[in-house]
Amino acid sequence: MPTGYDSATVWLVIALAGVLTFAIRGSFIYLFGRIDDVPPTVESALEYVPAAVFAALVFPALLAPSGDLAVSVGNDKLVAGALAALAAWYTERVLATILVGMGALWVLRFVV
């Protein structure tokens, strides 16, 4: 679905996200000497951010691709995603994961 936002608004989002992302990346590189270590509780919490965030980006796209729960073999994205997960597990490669997932989706859509 094409966005309803106009071009200038998209540029505003890009600029804001750019500044904030730079600030996060620079945080400790600039603060070093004043704050040498991340507080242990913050460090533990940050450690779990990638698993939670990436899962939040993956699960709905596979389990509910059109917004409704669709846990069945008739859901081609769930089946293709499960095969891609195996590829990701064994290869730890982005390219292999994409190739297996897209390949499986196309086989399910155009061949089976």
């Binding site: 590189i29 698993a51 939670a52 980006l57 293709a80 994409i98």
Partner: protein
């Protein structure tokens, strides 16, 4: 004595194998931008000004769904919080840099540049650390810019029935799997993923799924860790 340029080239070489993951990821991010109604210039703007693939892709999808702007930017911040860990971990090696060099180092701080640099710093104390880091970071940057623009130029010509939008969750899947190191991170994944799905299925407005799932998922990980399940 290693020279500056040889360390820089070593960094470029070390990043080489990772480019095989960056290139398709960049193509996906470029295609996604055009599919969601953004321009090639927007795609390049995201890649050059934000330069953070996972958050770019998520923002593009949220813009396509007309999510509130605070949610779009807030989701990007949550996704990029992990780079704060990298910043803290690599900061001691950059302590003597000038402010301008620190700015460049911060701008180039990606999962991949961090991973190859920190591995080298642990092995070899002789390396010109900044040169090595810039070699890795700038070559990753270059491939990212070229492939996102290529994807955006290609994007509008792709037939919709081929479902290229599915490549985005596949990229996230490839990023997710290596984070599953123990029971606690597994709990974060499972709880975060299921909460996000629940939020989407329940039709909660404003596309809060990633932010809510991040908070609940991190709490689940901390909970399992405190129970001693971090085996």
């Amino acid at each position: 004595m290693p020279t500056v340029s040889s360390d820089l080239l070593d960094g470029v070489r070390a990043a080489g194998p990772l480019q095989l993951g960056i290139a398709p990821f960049g193509l996906v991010a470029g295609v996604a931008a055009v599919e969601q109604g953004l321009s090639v210039a927007h795609a390049l703007g995201f890649s050059s000004l934000v330069f953070a693939g996972a958050s770019q892709l998520a923002m593009i999808e949220l813009l396509g769904a007309d999510a509130p702007l605070a949610i779009v930017v807030g989701t990007a911040v949550v996704i990029n919080l992990r780079t704060m860990m990298y910043s803290a971990s690599i900061a001691p090696y950059f302590r003597d840099l000038t402010a301008r060099a620190k700015a460049l180092a911060s701008y180039l701080l990606t999962d991949q540049a961090y991973a190859v640099s920190i591995a080298r710093y642990g092995r070899d104390g002789e390396t010109d650390r900044f040169a090595y880091y810039v070699g890795a970071g700038a070559s990753l940057w270059f491939v990212w810019q070229v492939t996102t623009v290529a994807g955006a130029l290609l994007g509008s010509g792709l037939p919709p029935e081929w479902g290229f939008d599915f490549a985005a969750p596949l990229v996230f899947l490839a990023l997710l799997v290596p984070t599953l190191k123990d029971r606690a991170s597994g709990a974060s994944c499972l709880v975060g993923g299921l909460v996000a799905t629940g939020v989407v299925v329940a039709g909660v407005p404003f596309h809060l799924d990633i932010i809510v799932a991040a908070v609940v998922g991190v709490l689940a990980g901390l909970g399992v860790e405190s129970l001693g399940g971090d085996a």
